[in-house]
């Protein structure tokens, strides 16, 4: 029987999230004090040693990102940390859990990151629909300020930091790091061409470190307990733990934190307690709308970035959406394509036209009795073209659910 390994979520359910005293009583704000005794470059070394990979979905090395940002434009007057709390990938709600139930751990991770790259200002971009998260994170900031944990010369060091919340206003695309920066600057959510990456030219043109909520909260514990300890958990290609969010036709939907390398079967049948109404497992969608369908052949695959990628699947945000044998994959795929069409910003032609085309094409496919193979091939071709030519990850995504749906469930179309 597999057990949860709560590291990022170690305080969840154990402390009052609105009490800074309770956070301190369980060892809170010790990690930042440890970090402040090191040189910033030593903090970055710890992050590299931990091999932590970004938990937003892209899985890029957190330590490398910090290193790039800290070395970028040394003459620049400002650099920033931006926390990406615009959680919008369908099936994903782990960041909401962290913000609602342990906001101080997030703040501490932001402080450590800011110290490591030489930033004195951090922004937390929270989607506006997350009312309780906004309330609790704001209270945490206020309480931390009253103790001068946020402010000038924190813990009697030379390090000063201000943290501010910025709101989104309902846009999935603003969860993409460069689009998020545009939105934070008070503009329409259009992605930027990269390079330059945020590490070089981010917020207001300055070097910026953009990190996901789960990544930042995990940094706190890594600095507290040590990178070597953390790197021994999980798998070689994906050390540590991951918060998975289970939903769909599952008896016990919710969130779990487990070591990387756990299998899908264990997640669905042990933690999720199996399929609702004791129906049969048909398949799952891993990573959200910008994710991949899998069938029962994948149930024993270890969940890690590289091991899933080797089988053409995605870990993504850690969303696991389960379907039983009453669900229609073609209906689900159609709804996913509707989602992408709605969320496309319209800036680039391949995505603006492409997302509308894909929806029309799947509507046709569902209605047609002839030429199905040809229509399927056209859909894949269109989505492939979009993936190669779109400006940002939104246009690059539909190929993932499309290809995997036809790969595993072609008989349903």
């Amino acid at each position: 029987m597999v057990k949860e390994t709560r590291i990022t979520l170690e305080n969840v359910g154990k402390i009052n999230p609105e009490s800074i005293e309770e956070y301190i009583s369980v060892g809170g704000y010790k990690a930042i004090q440890k970090a402040l005794k090191l040189k910033p470059i030593e903090v970055i070394d710890e992050m590299l040693k931990s091999s932590l990979r970004g938990r937003g979905g892209a899985g890029f090395s957190t330590g490398l990102k910090e290193q790039f940002t800290s070395k970028s434009c040394l003459a620049c007057e400002h650099r920033y940390v931006v926390c990406n709390a615009d959680e919008g990938e369908p099936g994903t709600f782990k960041d909401r859990v962290i913000m609602e139930k342990d906001p101080h751990k997030l703040l501490e991770g932001i402080m450590i990151s800011a110290y490591s790259i030489g930033a004195s200002k951090a922004y937390i971009y929270i989607r506006a629909e997350y009312f309780l998260s906004i309330e609790r994170v704001q209270k945490a900031i206020n309480d931390a300020k009253s103790k001068n944990f946020i402010g000038k010369n924190i813990f009697d060091s030379d390090f000063s930091l201000d943290i501010e919340i910025n709101l989104g206003a309902g846009s999935y695309l603003c969860g993409e790091e460069l689009t998020l920066l545009e939105s934070l600057e008070g503009k329409r959510g259009y992605p930027r061409i990269k390079p330059p990456f945020p590490a070089e030219k981010g917020l207001f043109g300055s070097p910026t470190l953009v990190n996901n909520v789960e990544t930042l909260a995990t940094i706190t514990t890594i600095i507290d307990k040590g990178a070597e300890w953390y790197s021994k958990l999980g798998t070689e290609d994906a050390p540590g733990t991951k918060i998975f969010t289970l939903s769909g036709d599952i008896k016990k939907p919710g969130y779990v934190e487990v070591e990387m390398g756990i299998t899908l079967r264990q997640l669905i049948f042990e933690f999720g307690k199996g399929i609702k109404n004791d129906a049969s497992f048909k398949g799952a969608l891993l990573g959200g709308a910008a994710g991949t369908f899998v069938d029962e052949a994948m149930l024993d695959t270890p969940m890690s970035y590289d091991q899933l990628k080797a089988k053409g699947a995605t870990l993504g945000s850690g969303a696991i959406i389960v379907f039983n044998d009453t669900k229609s994959i073609s209906d689900i795929l159609q709804n996913i394509l509707e989602f992408f069409k709605h969320e496309s910003c319209g800036k680039c032609v391949p995505c603006r036209i492409g997302t509308s085309q894909l929806l029309l094409m799947i509507d046709d496919l569902k209605k047609s009795k002839l030429n199905k193979t040809e229509l399927i091939n056209q859909l894949i071709e269109e989505a492939t073209y979009m993936a190669k030519n779109s400006l940002c990850p939104l246009g690059q995504s539909p190929i993932l659910p499309i290809k995997s749906a036809f790969n595993y469930f072609s008989n349903e179309f």
């Binding site: 099936g91 909401r96 309902g170 939903s247 939907p253």
Partner: protein, 150 residues
């Protein structure tokens, strides 16, 4: 909060735009941002009307047109959709006698679709103003609406 108070609360910097627009919209019983509001914000931030209008019309939470006192936003993203959000939408349409993106004649309710609200473990879900109602069934809709009629 009045606009005057809102403009006192925030520094006149474009990075504060979305927060300012939220406060203006939330203070308006018709849940929208008017032409006059856009002009005032443009003046406050020393920027163009069109750039503010562009922001208002981009984000799904903002509206440049009057809406009802209660915003009913039903999630229709993949998990809620596969768990019956369309039936929930139909129930709201039936009870309120309006179509999507319409407002009731008494200006009490506007019905909209929303994309993933991050409550997938408790789907299907609806956001009414700032309140979430999870684990919905069509038969629950009438009583939910009634609580907002008071």
């Amino acid at each position: 909060m009045s606009k005057k108070e809102i403009f006192k609360k925030y520094e006149a910097k474009k990075k504060n735009l979305l927060q300012i627009l939220h406060e203006i919209q939330d203070s308006n019983p018709e849940n929208y941002i008017s032409k006059e509001d856009i002009e005032d914000v443009a003046n406050f931030l020393n920027t163009s009307y069109s750039s503010i209008y562009g922001v208002v019309t981009y984000y799904s939470m903002f509206s440049a047109k009057p809406r009802g006192k209660n915003l009913v936003r039903v999630c229709n993203s993949p998990i809620c959709n596969m768990n019956g959000s369309m039936a929930i939408i139909d129930a709201f349409k039936h009870e309120l006698s309006i179509e999507l993106d319409e407002t009731t004649k008494d200006k009490l309710f506007t019905l909209e679709k929303a994309e993933c609200l991050g409550r997938c473990g408790q789907s299907p879900t609806v956001l009414i103003n700032k309140n979430y109602h999870d684990g919905l069934k069509p038969e629950k809709i009438k009583s939910i609406i009634n609580t907002y009629k008071k």
